[in-house]
Subunit: 134 residues, 2 copies
DNA sequence: CCTGACGTTTACGTTAACGTAAGTACGGCT
DNA sequence: AGCCGTACTTACGTTAACGTAAACGTCAGG
């Protein structure tokens, strides 16, 4: 039932292609809170998921404190109405940011397409010159 | 014909909500190459477009040197076949990155939706408790 | 003529996100 | 007993992307 599987710090680092230092740093910043066996860190499934979320946030270009807030929203306690409204607000803000990013991505992809087309046209032209050097 | 309109550094800074320092820094890094009137910078339409591209790159979380390469692709000279193939390679790389980012964004948006649903459910529960305090 | 707005350069300061030692500790193998 | 592998903490170093201050030029308006 209760997800017995655990990981060491190097196992997680290997799995996600990051360094031990990075994981320790994330803990230092409060992004991770692994259990301890003496001095050694013990990571459970939840820690693993959180780490994945952090890395995704990074790929999205968010700063670690931003990521901390976002992740914090995932496991927010129900709390009182004020907190809930604040949370909804924050969700709206993040969503707006992400949607802006998606628009940026789409625009950039479109321009890359354009560049690629020009590129292939130029290549074709070169080939034509080669086979028809008159 | 030849786009006569020009801008001062403050005009561009105001338009894009950045500082003079930032624009000067971008020039220092070779991302912008405005003309000069004596010591004063004179920005033409092309510079303005490039600045917009830089800022979009930043919103996407790219570093300035990455952005420099990407923008460099836009105005690459036809060049020889080897260069063109390299460029096509680079385009493929960027595209893969951007598509990964879009997947990340979609996943995050989906999770935000989930959090929002839980949030609204909780709010509803609170309202029900209020109106039916038995 | 002096001030203020706008621009310039040079250069040191700052923050984020780690990198990189240095030194210590502990369990297992031979 | 000695060493290896893995992990720990502490702490200074580094890079990117500007911020910020200092000191100066120049042109229009009062």
């Amino acid at each position: 039932m209760g997800d017995e599987r655990t990981w060491t710090i190097t196992q997680l680092a290997d799995e996600y292609g990051i360094t031990l230092r990075t994981i320790r740093f994330y803990e230092e910043q409060g992004l991770l809170t692994p259990a301890r066996n003496g001095a050694h860190r013990v990571f459970h499934e939840g820690d693993r998921v959180r780490l994945a979320l952090v890395l995704r946030g990074k790929r999205l270009g968010f700063g670690l404190d931003e990521i901390k807030k976002i992740i914090g929203m995932y496991d927010a306690e129900p709390g009182e109405a004020g907190q809930l409204r604040y949370l909804l607000d924050q969700i709206a803000v993040r969503r707006a940011e992400l949607e802006q990013r998606r628009r940026d991505i789409d625009a950039t992809l479109a321009e890359l397409d354009e560049v690629e087309r020009r590129c292939r046209t130029d290549l074709d032209a070169l080939r034509t010159d080669m086979s028809d050097p008159a």
